[in-house]
Amino acid sequence: MQKKLTLGVFFTLFLATTFLPIVWMFGNSVYEEGRFSFAYYRDVFLTLKYGKVISNSLILASITTILSSLFGVPAGFFLTKTNLPLKKLFKICFFIPLIIPSYIIGIAWTNLLGKTGFLNNILSQYLWFSPSSISDFTYSIYGASFILSINLFPVVMLVTEYALKSINPRLEESGLVVGSVFQVFRQITLPLIAPAILSGMMIVFVLSLSEFGVPSLLQVNVLTTQIFTQFSAFYNEKAATAIAFPLIVITFILIMLEKIYMRGKSFEMLGRTSSISTTQYNITWLNVVGITFCTLVLLVCVIIPLSTLIFNTKTISAYHNAILLARNGITNSVLFGSIGATLLTFIGFFLGYLSEKIRSRLKNSTAAFIWIFFAVPATVSGIGLIKLWNRAEGTCQFIYSSLWIVILGYVIRFLPLSSRIMANYLKQIPNSMEEAGTVTGTSWFRILGKILLPLQGYGLIATWLICFMFCVGELGTTILVYPPGHETLPIALFTVMANSPTDVVSALSIIIVVMTLLPVGVFLAVSKYLVFKPNQNESVEYF
């Protein structure tokens, strides 16, 4: 009873914070002057008015997906299947583009390839490109795709790595005794990991379709920027909602297609036992190709953008100026990010439990229902929040004009993510751990406090940190909902970009990078002390 009630409360909380604003917004968009009207939807679906925007969005998402796969699949392969030197370093560094906000990578590359950019100068000097053509290319759908693929390739890389590690090595070994490495990879390994890679590509497609920061920075006209323009420039939230609708439809179709395609195609733990390790190809030329490829990816995705930002700041005073300009934003980001991450971890734990540990026919549907909200574009979430909370009454007005509206923005954006992460951590706890407590007749709250939460400790900390990183970098929803005096660091950055020199913008970007990477660094440094390990020093007698 305690369990059902608690889980019910948290699911209702999810519906209220995440589901309701979106539904409210769509409900509102088909209701005009006291009657139903689909006028705005007619504009979107039955005229060519937004055809260009929709096709831009699809092109952006498609190119990003292809580029991310070209970076991610080989990177995942080399880091799993070869004996590369500095493998661990590569692995850690390849996470950085995913952790830091995409627009920061955008700022760095526009600094390099903009009309007066360092790389632009070199390319126009030694190649036949003109400075303006390079700059135009950067500020185009192709430039945006390139930057987004830097941000999102780690998703494909991680999925590839996981799929490769999940294959039973005996399957490859039985091929290697009769065939070449290339043949085994092409005929055994690749078909086994293909469904997982496709699934990773779909995630990249959906995320780039709903991306706001990079298209906005590079002034690319896609659905998300159009939604923002309709709402903030023309105050036409109904048109904005109608434009958001294709995004939701495309996302929904993709998720459904992926579910249908993946049915029965999960090769996870294919007869695998924990004692056998992944088959590795110890071939010199493959290692050489691997190290060259990984170094190039590291240069393009991490070293060049970050060193550009550091190089651009030139002086310490740039950091001083940046801090002075964004002092409020820094404090707000830390405060809002901490509260947001705590709420996300807490609610995410119970939602994760609901979608992972409850045996029900609706279990998979619940998980898919929660997950689909992760694909809702940030700008759409922002409009939903405004429509729901912007009213004259007391509590609503209090929330709408305080930090809580920003925090609600974080919750609506990242609750599906935090619940998914929690579900994955909870999956690792055998059901018998909880059942062993249940048979003693103790209350569920005690089982929660004494067994589940302590066993989940590492997962709770990791989820909090991931949520904190995402909250600190969040732009799309915050830019729409933040009340005066409650601007966060990304908002400060976008404001500073319009009227401050490059060194200050770069300095502020570096501050955001540090703020997102620092908690991860601290966590990695102290994680060995956080993870529960019994004392290994004392002698053990065996039975």
Binding site: E435, A436, V439, T440, I451, P534, E538
Partner: protein, 342 residues
Amino acid sequence: MNALEVKQLIKCFNKKEVVKGVSFGVEQGQLLALLGPSGCGKTTTLRMIAGLETPDDGEIWIEGVLANHGRKMVISQKQRHIGMVFQDLALWPHMTVYENIEFGLKANGITRADRRKKIDAVLHKVNMQNYAREYPAKLSGGQQQLIAIARAIVTEPRLLLMDEPLSNIDVKLREDIRQEIKRIQQETQITTVYVTHDQEDAFLLADKVAVMNNGMLEQIGIPEEIYSSPTSLFVASFIGEANILQVTIAGKDRVLTPWGELVCNTKGREGKNAYLFFRPHQATIESSGHCYGMIINRDFVAGGYKYRVSTSGVEFKLQDQTKHDIGKFIKFSIKKMDILFF
């Protein structure tokens, strides 16, 4: 009155019936082994007794108290007063041995001093008194088993449920732990239900064995009875080594076998086709035997030889202490009283 009474228990998963009207009783202080192949519904039955699964129909009575009536849980897990040992043991890795055992006692509101006494006593009982402050990960597989048992019995439960506790340990250790389980159960006299797919575990530990197959209870009885008088073809083939030959009933007490017509008691069996059952050790190779065949394979086993013999293409197994050559034509006899028909 039985300490545990299960009546017509039914459980479905995804519209598929996995337990189909199972009924049995366990007397006070007895150990009942639920024996059967994987997926036969034995663990589900155990989990329903523990209150971890809800039956779709049927009743569970614990010491005369109705625990489940269909889907209605009449008494909670706490009121059932059950101890359980899980297949993966489920020792909480973040708690010491002491804390693991203490958890259930705290749930029952036992005072601190009493808890200490009970934990000391139970650790002494399982010969693990020096390991109270250790974490489970530091213990060997066998020690972990004993701690899991200690945790289950410390609350002096009315019923001890064990779900294949020996399935994850090696053969040598298995024998030792099995002996320990037997000793502890006999000393504590806790009524126990022990789920296993291993016949050796079931036969060595249990006062009674209940054989399950495909969600149904095939036979329940003392181990000797299950072995020597199986009541179904499944039990006959599942328990021990068996020869099961398809034969034809030619008339009253007349059976057509590969060795010709056999006159014996078919126990009123009618219909044309039947299965003849006997165990390899029940046949004696002797020149005066009425049955015959050619040896096609021979394996040495401790104390004798195992033979595969063929008669007109029908293969069966025999046992003998004498060494016979492969290809040799032999005669053998089977005591009519040992032959069963299904």
